[in-house]
């Protein structure tokens, strides 16, 4: 780094002399701005300049905590899972044929037999499944369930590589809902944001997406984690209606060759688990009795987008 020109008035000889004043000035140069910024960060007041919020010094750990503290259902979900585990165990005492993979509160895999649960709601639904690449795998076992239970799978909307932002910040979802008029929606997303730590932004987007469902009953299916996430599951769970979020994390699903997506068998096990959860504890229930036959011909329309080419907003 070169020294500035001596021609400038600021660089007269007297100023260039070493002086303790400059150390003091340096002290002020760091202490005053940082202390002011801290004072601003400690208060609840938020300033905006030209509509842009002036951010505060934040500790990421606290940010996550804040989001989690806002999200009391986190504990509820554990409670729900506990109840669910109990229900499953109760059911097991009566039946023991079909395979259900579901994680209990301690995240241990519980492989359970499960069958013959009663289907109270026999309404035939127009089902739509929307999501990222995992939706493209899950739609096939869902197709089997729909055919066996008399529902119509009207659209499988697969938006590869998409994140919550693509779904929330575009009008794509609203448009397909308007066009296909589903009476029940499966939302499957999150695989592309397991690494995400900007949870505040994603929470806002997730809330927006939940609003876009506009009263249509839905099941929000969490991503099949291939790595530990940084809280995206909790963010989605907090955004979804109480009892409508299916926490996939903890399920041990066979994976495909890329190590990330479930294999065909994995998708089938996943769908079986969702169906069981749907019957036992989901808020919006539809009939999803386990199909006797598998691999029905897929007649639903599949719409495929790629976030790399179409971001949506």
């Amino acid at each position: 780094m070169i020294s500035p020109s001596n021609e400038h008035p600021d660089y007269k000889d007297s100023v260039q002399k070493p002086s303790r004043f400059f150390i003091l000035l340096a002290g002020f140069s760091f202490a005053v701005p940082t202390l002011l910024l801290y004072l601003y960060s400690y208060q609840t007041q938020v300033f905006e300049i030209c509509g842009i919020e002036i951010r505060k010094i934040e500790n990421q750990e606290e940010t996550i905590d804040e989001i989690f503290s806002e999200f009391e259902p986190s504990n509820k979900s554990l409670a729900t899972n506990t109840q669910l585990s109990k229900k499953i165990d109760d059911t097991l005492t009566r039946t023991n044929n079909t395979v259900l993979a579901f994680s209990d509160t301690t995240n241990q895999l519980t492989t359970r037999a499960f069958q013959n649960y009663e289907i109270s709601d026999t309404t035939k639904h127009r089902v739509m499944i929307i999501g990222d690449s995992e939706c493209g795998g899950l739609c096939f076992p869902l197709n089997d369930y729909c055919i066996e239970n008399g529902h119509k799978l009207v659209l499988s909307f697969v938006w590869n590589s998409a994140t919550i932002f693509n779904f929330a910040h575009s009008d794509t979802i609203t448009r397909v809902i308007q066009k296909y008029k589903p009476s029940y929606v499966f939302l499957v997303l999150g695989l592309n944001e397991l690494y995400a730590k900007d949870l505040k932004r994603r929470k806002q987007a997730a809330d927006l997406l939940a609003k876009k469902m506009n009263g249509i009953p839905y099941a929000w299916i969490g991503p099949a984690n291939y790595m530990e996430d940084f809280g995206i599951n909790k963010v989605f769970e907090s955004a979804a209606d109480s009892g409508s979020y299916f926490l996939t994390d903890g399920l041990q699903l066979p994976r495909g060759s890329d190590g990330r997506h479930p294999s065909n068998q994995g998708y089938r096990i996943w769908m079986d688990s969702i169906a069981s959860w749907m019957h036992l504890s989901s808020k919006y229930k539809i009939a999803l009795k386990r199909p006797v036959k598998r691999n029905y011909t897929f007649k639903s329309q599949i719409m495929t987008l790629h976030a790399a080419k179409f971001r949506g907003y």
Binding site: M1, P18, L25, S29, Q43, Q45, F47, D198, R260, H306
Partner: protein, 503 residues
């Protein structure tokens, strides 16, 4: 509305939080998992107050040294807690060993040197490499020795190398041993270089302790500018790139060849901006205190060959390895074959120094081979062409070789590294890059900015810096304030630890 304030909470005045007992306890607690970084705003605030008091002591050399030592010890304690005792023990023993070495002659002197070196190295070997040796021993001989639950004290690799350089220099009579333990403690604990370098040599630094400087206006501005630039490098570029690199290296097989290739570029930029950012902050802080640390980087990615790269990359380490490993082994004095062999051994030591893992050894080995190859090449083609396209090709080739080696440096395992390379070689398509542009625009922008900063001519950079330094001195508080707010505004929510902290 230009300025809009909302949500004023009059019930809970903000300043009350600062004086809570919990807040104060937090200030004086240490955390080995969350070291006190230069990038922490709490550090900058405390450092500012520290400087104000320092300005009162600056003319009393002994007091200023004691004051800096105490602050350095607190700085180290914040990240290492009880391991501070180990560090102090090493300082005292080095000081005594150096005096003893200086006073003895012949065989006794040599024995004392080896004893002192073994003693200094024993800490590093135990904490950093014990488990590595146990693992390999178990695998090799099918034994089952239990691994130790070890925490690597922060900065141990750096201060051990400093300790070695001091002891060897005293042995060779290049410098006299310090008579005053305060001087030696100052050299070792000086907080700007304590935890992640640059590796400071006693012969460069000790004279500055005896005749300390006080800054003037231009040094004040240069220091502040260096610190701000360092923060920007780290928080704007390195941390954003780290996010992308982390995703890819989690499961490289799940991403296309193009994405793996871009992660190689991203990591090459990340590690440079991370470490050179740290070095900039360290140099800036030291300068404010009146001490000049040597430059650690000189545009390394513009090197036209691997030898030049190592003259420009992590200069303090390269020089250390040259002076304390390569030359003592024999350097180029024992024939061509031995020269190559010593070069390879030196780079293997360099690789192993970075971490107790075969990946680092391989990384060092690859660089060693490349250095040998370049030496052989120069034998056959001693006059390199100066034509621009040849230079550009050489820069690209060197950069890609270095980037390729970084894959092993960053990957979580050899398998992961090979998968990434396999993806790059066999699964790369043009569409990957178009997709990348659309799906990760922020990473594209950061990559482009990083590329621009790296390859912009030095003269233009210097011109820009000199223009900035013309801003009136008294206004610099305001500029710092604006710069810090811009950093808060745009930095990633998660500040990554400096990469070299782990070494």
């Amino acid at each position: 509305m230009l300025l809009n304030s909302v949500d004023i909470d009059m019930q809970n005045p903000f300043w009350l939080n600062i004086f809570k007992v919990e807040t104060l306890k937090e200030w004086f607690a240490y955390s080995t998992t969350e070291p006190w970084f230069f990038t922490e705003f709490s550090f900058l605030a405390v450092f500012g107050i520290f400087l104000m008091i320092y300005s009162l002591l600056a003319k009393a050399n002994t007091w200023r040294k004691i004051y800096i030592i105490l602050f350095s010890i607190f700085f180290y304690y914040k990240s290492s807690g009880p391991f501070l005792g180990l560090f102090v023990l090493m300082i005292v023993s080095d000081y005594l060993f150096a005096l003893a070495i200086h006073n003895k002659q012949g065989l006794t002197k040599k024995i004392l040197l080896w004893l002192s070196l073994s003693y200094s190295l024993s800490f590093l070997l135990y904490f950093k490499y014990a488990n590595f040796f146990i693992q390999n021993f178990n695998q090799l001989l099918d034994t089952s020795f239990t691994e130790h639950d070890l925490f690597l004290p922060i900065g141990i690799s750096f201060y051990t190398f400093q300790s070695i350089s001091y002891l060897v220099d005293v042995y060779k009579k290049e410098i006299p041993p310090t008579k005053n333990i305060i001087d030696y403690a100052f050299y070792m604990t000086f907080f700007p270089h304590l935890v992640a370098g640059p590796i400071v040599r006693a012969k460069d630094f000790l004279p500055q302790i005896v005749y300390p400087q006080i800054i003037n206006a231009s040094l004040y501005k240069e220091s502040i500018l260096r610190i701000i630039i360092g923060l920007l490098k780290k928080l704007f570029i390195a941390d954003y790139l780290a996010k992308y690199v982390d995703i890819i290296h989690q499961t490289p097989s799940g991403f296309s060849g193009g994405e793996n290739l871009l992660s190689m570029y991203a990591y090459s930029f990340q590690i440079y901006f991370d470490f050179s950012g740290y070095s900039d902050i360290a140099i800036g802080i030291a300068l404010l205190l009146g001490y000049r640390l040597k430059e650690n980087f000189e545009n390394p990615y513009t090197a036209t060959n691997i030898t030049e790269f190592w003259r420009k990359w992590h200069i303090s380490l390269s020089n250390w390895l040259r002076d304390y490993v390569y030359i003592p082994l024999g350097g180029n004095r024992k024939g061509v074959f031995n020269t190559y062999l010593f070069l390879l051994v030196t780079m293997l030591v360099g690789g192993f120094w970075h971490g107790a893992d075969w990946r680092f050894v391989f990384w060092g080995f690859a660089h060693g081979l490349a250095l040998i190859f370049h030496k052989v090449w120069k034998q056959f083609f001693p006059h390199a062409t100066k034509k621009w396209y040849a230079q550009a090709f050489s820069v690209l080739l060197t950069f890609h070789f270095v980037g390729f080696c970084w894959i092993f440096f960053r990957a979580s395992s050899f398998n992961s590294a090979f998968t990434s390379i396999q993806q790059i070689l066999f699964n790369t398509q043009w569409q990957d890059f178009i997709g990348f542009w659309y799906s990760r625009p922020e990473i594209c922008y950061v990559l482009l900015i990083a590329f621009f900063i790296l390859f912009i001519p030095v003269k233009i950079k210097e011109l820009i810096f000199s223009k900035i330094q013309l801003l009136p001195t008294i206004t610099w508080i305001l500029w710092v304030m604006i710069a810090l707010q811009i950093i808060i505004q745009f930095k990633d929510e998660v500040v990554q630890p400096f990469i070299y902290f782990q070494f």
